[in-house]
């Protein structure tokens, strides 16, 4: 099984489409070159095709393909610079390369390793290069000369032979001084060794080798079954330009791997040590050992995936949602039948079947929901580059750590969450982390840390953006808010630090002393919060002056299904997204105070305005509000308490960034997962309603739009304060 860590099915699909085009272009070019002889334009075309293939295969993580195209590119570059003539031998090699590339491309398509060996071909290409650079012609016959420098050192110091049974072997390989591309040779060595045993690690890492870094010495640790490490040494020496291969240490089986794993575990939480039960083989082993991204999102990378239109998944989700409703109905019918014809065998059989269908439906629903999920890595992967560029442009040193990138979430959420996260990360880099000088002055390490992590918590995905920077100064925020007229000085004086920090979510407030292009002009955090709340999520800040800030974003796993509290008012059912419910409290008329013409209750010192659902949702002429409930004259203090007292109601305390409002309801129905449906364009937007859902009994319930209801009360209060 060939796997490409970190690549989604979509990425692979894109690669295949592009690779097919380039292979075709390569083939056309080679044919033309052979027929028409040297032509700059054609050579340019072939060169570009090889170059593009190299880039995309390296990105994909297809080492053989990247390596082969890299060598091809080098040869073609010489041809382009007229340092090499195109002869029939060169054409043969290039065509062979094309054939092998096709085989390698098929590997990506099928996900199956072909076992194709590219070392012979890359060796031939390298020999051509070596020859051309020594001033030779395009003739390729001097293979032994090219590797000549290696042949001189057959007096290799081999400390081998002292081995009894299988064990871990560490080899140190040195390359000839004349070696043109030691990284390619190093790759070849690892490639060859990986066939003989599992590679435990390489130094430098395979990542660096692939990146073409200049290599002085190569250290390879390998699991070896043989009695003597001599075959390993011979295999390494077989590669051109290898000056020496030295067995550095031989250890009992598993000990080197254990050490590596422990070191990796300790160094970084994100490092995956690879699946222990299925040991990787071949080239993958080299990757696993050298590249610190082991098993991440391994399941999403298989080439055996099928691309499915999101619309089809949506249609499936809808069908399953209908099935869920019918299942509930079926269970109801079944229990009614059981009541009527208790001991009937048929009823018992129906019961069994309906239970089974119920279970299958639940599983089906879970499976479909899973199919819609994909790792958040798709969102995260663009951030490291962004952080790097930002840090560089601002002269900051930042260690950017990503954790939990394989945490899965629904596609619909991941499409929406990118922009708010960009903003938060930009803020962390721009406002959070100080310059190295400032940090040193504050007694911190010059290098700041920004940590982006994701994890699941019940039905939510939690994303944290933490920095160890300067933190948010509540006094500075207050000052800024007063200056911008957002709050009065008295209000600021009364305000807690926590509330003050939360002011950064107010429209038009920026704490940055200077306006820059990093974090915008104070039109950020309020929009970030609005967008997150629109997704039924929430955002909170935890900050310590001088120590750093953590922004925590909590989002539902999917936008289509949310957990909701169902309440009844006037014998109608409403759904309140659970994310906005703070608590529920019983209220009696004597609890009610009137503040700014609106009823309110006191809850642990806070005054929370109440909103009767009837105020907004009753039909004209049928309004049922506070007055009707409390007393005929509307004054709770001297109202006819007797009858009203018997009618307790509930206040569901809901919150949005603008404040808290207690929604008064008759009774609580329960908590359940609901499927959000839109009211459609014919009805359009209804104030206070974000959508509808179908309940288990087939009835339709309105989903309350808490932010807009809170806003309504807040605006009313602001109006009352002004007037």
């Amino acid at each position: 099984m060939l796997e490409f860590p970190g690549m989604t099915a979509d990425d692979i699909k894109v690669f295949l489409i592009e690779a097919e085009e380039q292979l075709q272009s390569l083939e056309d070019g080679l044919l033309e070159l052979e027929q028409a002889g040297e032509d700059d334009e054609v050579i340019g075309q072939i060169f570009r095709a090889a170059h593009t293939l190299k880039g995309s295969s390296a990105t994909l993580g297809h080492d053989k393909m990247a390596n082969l195209t890299h060598s091809m590119e080098s040869v073609l570059d010489l041809v382009r610079k007229s340092q090499l003539e195109v002869g029939p031998d060169l054409m043969d090699v290039l065509f062979e390369c094309l054939d092998v590339l096709r085989v390698l491309n098929r590997e990506v398509e099928t996900g199956q390793e072909s076992g194709e060996d590219i070392t012979v071909l890359t060796g031939r290409l390298l020999d051509i290069i070596a020859f051309a650079e020594e001033g030779g012609s395009g003739c390729i016959s001097g293979e032994s000369e090219a590797g000549g420098s290696g042949a001189q050192s057959t007096m290799t110091v081999v400390d081998g032979g002292i081995m009894h049974g299988p064990g871990d072997v560490e080899l140190c390989i040195a390359f000839a001084d004349t070696c043109q591309m030691p990284s390619v040779r190093a790759y070849q060595v690892v490639d060859r060794l990986s066939v003989m045993g599992n590679i435990i690690y390489t130094r430098p890492s395979m990542e660096l080798i692939e990146a073409g870094q200049d290599i002085g010495e190569l250290t390879v640790a390998i699991e070896w079954d043989g009695d003597s490490p001599q075959p390993l040494v011979e295999a390494a020496m077989d590669v051109s330009d290898v000056k020496s291969a030295l067995v550095v240490q031989v250890r009992p089986a598993g000990s080197l791997k254990g050490e590596v794993d422990a070191a990796a575990e300790a160094s970084r939480a994100t490092v995956a040590s690879g699946p222990k039960e299925s040991e990787p083989t071949g080239v993958e082993a080299g990757r696993k050992a050298g590249v610190n991204r082991g098993s991440r999102s391994a399941t999403s990378t298989r080439a055996t995936t099928v691309r499915v239109d999101v619309a089809r998944l949506d249609a499936l989700s809808n069908l399953v949602a209908e099935l869920v409703i019918d299942r509930t109905h079926l269970a109801q019918l079944e229990s009614k039948l059981a009541e009527k014809h208790g001991g009937d065998e048929l009823v018992a059989e129906l019961n069994r079947t309906s239970t089974h269908i119920g279970r299958l439906t639940t599983e089906l629903q879970e499976a479909i929901n899973k199919a819609r999920m994909f790792p958040i890595d798709n969102v995260f992967r663009r951030f490291p580059r962004m952080v790097r560029d930002l840090a560089q442009s601002q002269g900051k040193e930042i260690d950017f750590i990503i954790e939990g990138e394989d945490t899965e979430l629904d596609r619909s959420v991941s499409e929406e969450i990118g922009d708010p996260l960009i903003h938060l990360i930009r803020n962390a880099v721009g406002h959070g982390i100080e310059t190295p000088e400032e940090r040193v002055a504050a007694g911190k390490a010059p290098k700041g840390t920004v940590r982006l992590s994701a994890f699941h918590q019940e039905n939510y995905i939690v994303i944290e953006i933490a920095d160890d920077g300067r933190g948010i100064d509540p006094e500075a925020v207050k000052e800024s808010a007063i200056r911008k007229g957002l709050i009065s000085e008295e209000a600021a004086a009364r305000m807690s630090d926590r509330d003050a920090v939360n002011l950064i979510f107010s429209p038009g407030l920026s704490t940055s002393k200077k306006v820059d292009d990093v974090s915008g002009r104070g039109v950020g955090m309020d929009i970030v919060r609005k967008n997150i709340e629109r997704l039924n999520g929430s955002i909170s800040i935890d900050t310590r002056l001088g120590e750093g800030s953590t922004f925590t974003v909590k989002l539902p796993l999917t936008l289509a299904i949310i957990r909701a509290l169902l309440v009844a008012y006037d014998s109608r059912i409403y759904a309140i997204p659970l994310a906005s419910v703070m608590e529920i409290t019983r209220i009696e008329p004597s609890d009610i105070h009137t503040v700014h013409k609106r009823e309110a209750i006191r809850l642990r010192g806070d005054v929370i305005p109440l909103l009767w659902l009837g105020e907004i949702f009753s039909k004209r002429g049928e309004e049922r509000g506070a007055a009707e409930w409390m007393a005929a004259d509307g004054r709770p203090e001297d109202g006819a308490a007797g009858e009203a007292q018997s009618r307790r109601m509930f206040a569901v305390i809901t919150s949005s960034h603008e404040g808290q409002v207690g929604l008064v309801v008759d009774s609580l129905v329960g908590e359940m997962e609901i499927v959000i449906k839109s009211l459609g364009s014919f009805i359009g937007n209804i104030p206070g309603v974000s959508g509808v859902t179908i309940l288990g009994d087939g009835r339709v319930a309105l989903i309350l739009d808490i932010p807009s209801l809170v806003r309504r009360v807040v605006e009313e209060r602001n109006g009352a304060e002004r007037g």
């Binding site: 949702f617 009753s618 449906k677 459609g680 014919f682 209804i686 087939g698 009835r699 319930a701």
Partner: protein, 160 residues
Amino acid sequence: MEHGFDAEEIQLVVFELAGESYGVEISRVQDINRMQEITEIPHAPESVVGVINLRGRVIPVVDLRTRFGLPPAEHTKSTRIVVVQMGEEPIGMIVDAVSQVLRIPTKIIEPPSPVLSGVDSRYLRGIAKLEDELVILLDLDYVLSKDEQEFISEAMAESV
């Protein structure tokens, strides 16, 4: 042709409303349902009674009597919700009863005349004169258009 029917013959679903027969093309009709519980949508346009759950889809329901300014009537056993397709969205219309499905030649369709029905002629595509009855052909796109919705609310506001 003024009524806009291309075919020589059309098939109509005929329903009753305040004693008159109305027809809509069968191709536009998705479903005919018995009256069911309707969830009211507060602050929705005047003639939108609410929404129903039609096999897992939430569909808005319009009371055609309110729409046409006819007197309201109690719902009976024969009351039906006719679900028609409006663009991408299905919309339900409450009618007194669904009487029949008719195949009529388009040549018997005459231009609408305000004298013949109590309904504003703008809603009509024409009138089919059958031997024993008249079937009023509705212009669904106009009846259920959003602009018209607003127009109706304005007209209602003025008349109050």
